[in-house]
């Protein structure tokens, strides 16, 4: 009974019909995902359609979203299993060595996409001419930065990610006597000056008491940014320092002092500090003579890495990214009258996999061709001899 079931599953997994259905589903997903980008933005659509196991839809009558279509993750997983099943079905002989290589290459290509989907981190770095930057920042994710600014030369930065803020409750800041009590977190909000007669703010310290806040639905579009805000109460040594409003919309610095150490609170895009720094020496935006059509964008950066005793100039330009310490820096955008350069930074531990896959598939096809050619020549020879 179990044996028949297993063999049925095996037959199902290695069937060609399954391949065809899955490829058709994948084509539908590509079309749907492309159309969805208009409303959801590139990243939003890719996450909803490609990097999920099911495409979910929210119906007004239901409190939760229900799956309506298989997502890229599920189709990809089944396609990978289908491919592996097919590969294992190939005879284990030297005659089939080429086919083995081709299939192994394809499996690696699929694995590469899973690695990218789950582990790739997209960030960016904006540098102005003459400026030195030692961090990359997220496009969408936010953090509450609690910074001990007491030391005149160094900042101790404690980053509380938005995912942690959204859970609420008490968050101890390790290495400091501070515990943050998250009173309320707004993934997206709108701030305005508090008018007379409006209910008082939850905040009791900093600029917060004079500000009114309204929750807004979150946005995923590429050119929109959520205005994350949070009411937090720092408590240290049994003493409360009041409730503060930190928001992406508040630029004014807010800080409190506990036992001689000053801590600032600010909501900002999630940063990842790097053990090296980039200084933008020159940004070039060349156009074709007599037109405004861009010919070239390039950033000349000085890369300084004290741990490697390294300091060198690198030119990053279109289609010529810098691969450094596991990250790839692409020339992405510019601004402020060509004095600001924006580098898109991608960290994908599996970036090598598509290349490995291409080499394997090419090699496999060559080997297979050679084997078939040899066999065919041999047949012809045999015919002649006969």
């Amino acid at each position: 009974m179990i044996k028949t079931l297993a063999s049925r599953i095996w037959t199902f997994l290695k069937s060609f019909q399954l391949t065809i259905v899955l490829l058709a589903l994948l084509m539908c997903l590509v079309v749907l995902c492309t159309l969805a980008q208009v409303e959801m933005g590139t990243q939003g659509a890719v996450n909803a359609y490609m990097r999920s196991f099911f495409v979910k839809k929210q119906f007004a009558a239901l409190p939760f979203a229900i799956p309506v279509f298989p997502g890229g993750g599920l189709v990809g997983l089944l396609l990978t299993l289908n491919l592996i099943a097919k590969t294992l079905d190939i005879q284990r002989t030297w005659q089939k060595a080429g086919m083995w290589l081709v299939h192994a290459g394809l499996v690696i290509l699929f694995a590469g996409e899973f690695v990218a989907g789950m582990m790739q981190v997209d960030t960016n770095m904006s540098i102005e001419v003459g400026q030195t930057v030692n961090y990359v920042q997220s496009y969408k994710n936010m953090e509450l930065a609690v910074i001990d600014v007491t030391d005149p030369a160094w900042d101790e930065v404690y980053s509380v990610p938005d995912t942690l803020l959204s859970r609420g409750g008490a968050i101890p800041i390790p290495g400091t006597p501070i515990t943050l009590n998250v009173k309320r977190y707004f993934p997206n909000s709108e701030l305005s000056n508090l008018a007379p007669g409006m209910p008082p703010s939850m905040a009791t310290a900093g600029v917060g008491p004079g500000i009114a806040i309204v929750e807004r639905p979150t946005v995923t579009n590429d050119n929109e940014l959520n205005t994350g805000s949070v009411f937090v109460e720092p408590v240290a040594g049994g003493r409360s320092y009041g409730t503060w409003l930190a928001s992406m919309a508040i630029g004014a610095p807010q800080s409190f002092t506990h036992e001689g150490r000053t801590y600032s609170l600010s909501m900002r895009l999630l940063r990842q500090y790097l053990p090296y720094s980039f200084t933008l020496k020159q940004f070039r935006h060349d156009v074709y003579p007599g037109t405004q059509i861009p010919k070239n964008f390039s950033s000349l950066v000085q890369v300084v890495n004290p741990s490697q005793k390294e300091s060198r100039e690198v030119l990053i330009y279109m289609n010529q990214p810098l691969r450094y310490e596991g990250k790839t820096f692409y020339q992405a955008s510019f601004g402020k009258n060509d004095t600001l350069s924006v580098l898109s930074v991608v960290e994908n531990p599996g970036w090598l996999l598509p290349y490995v896959s291409c080499v394997l598939v090419s090699l496999g096809l060559l080997v297979h061709f050679a084997i078939v050619l040899r066999r065919s020549l041999k047949r012809r020879q045999d015919k002649k001899e006969a």
């Binding site: 694995a111 001419v129 942690l164 000056n193 900002r268 060509d338």
Partner: protein, 215 residues
């Protein structure tokens, strides 16, 4: 809970990386969980206090302006500042926390804004250093702050005015004045943009600052 990493190292050989990929699934889970921790970094103080291209940072850190955003309730009564606009200038009510935006007849990229924040809004030095950061200049200390300060007299009281120009190929300039009102609010009036248009608009902008009054 704590991910204390002075500076996480990422250099690994390609071979090590390839073998590393064997446990992809588990690793992905681990990475996924890693974002929910308080991270600690020890970093040199930033020369630039703010991120240059953060939306809203150019204008006092205001929320991204949405088309359907209602005009903010205006501080009223004794605290509300009034001003007279020079010829050719116009005023648009602000959005979000911005109180107002001035439109000047001068061509070129520049903008004049009015923002009101409760209390001292972090202090003069911190705000001035934040503004300097927005045009790529390093922070200054109290002594340099006093040297850079120009006091402009108005009917509403004395305004502290600062004028900074960035370095670099295309220069940005910022003329900013701040004044505290009796109700405890701090008003920020800023003229920012490319150095050329800002220089042209500055005389008119200074006239606006001189015209400030409390009715």
């Amino acid at each position: 809970m704590l991910k204390t990493s002075m500076f996480p190292r990422h250099s690994r050989s390609f071979i090590a990386k390839a073998s590393f990929l064997a446990g992809t699934g588990l690793l992905a889970l681990a990475v996924g969980c890693g974002r929910d921790q308080v991270s600690h970094y020890r970093v040199p103080k930033e020369a630039v206090a703010d991120h240059p291209d953060h939306p809203g940072h150019e204008m006092e850190g205001m929320p991204p302006a949405g088309g359907d955003m209602p005009a903010p309730p205006r501080p009223a009564g004794a605290g509300a500042l009034k001003w007279s606009l020079p010829k050719g200038w116009s005023e648009v009510p602000g959005e979000g926390m911005r109180f107002a935006t001035f439109k000047s007849p001068i061509q070129g990229r520049h903008e004049a804004t009015v923002v009101v924040l409760p209390g001292a809004a972090g202090g003069e030095l911190a705000n001035v250093n934040r503004w300097r950061g927005q045009i790529g200049l390093g922070p200054i200390d109290e002594a340099a702050l006093a040297a850079a300060r120009v006091v402009v007299k108005s009917k509403a009281g004395a305004l502290n005015v600062y004028d900074f120009t960035s370095e670099g190929q295309a220069k940005s300039r910022m003329v900013a004045g701040l004044i505290s009102t009796p109700d405890g609010n701090t008003w920020f009036l800023k003229l920012t943009g490319d150095a050329g248009p800002v220089a042209k608009a500055k005389p008119d902008f200074m006239r606006i600052l001189e015209s400030l009054r409390l009715d």
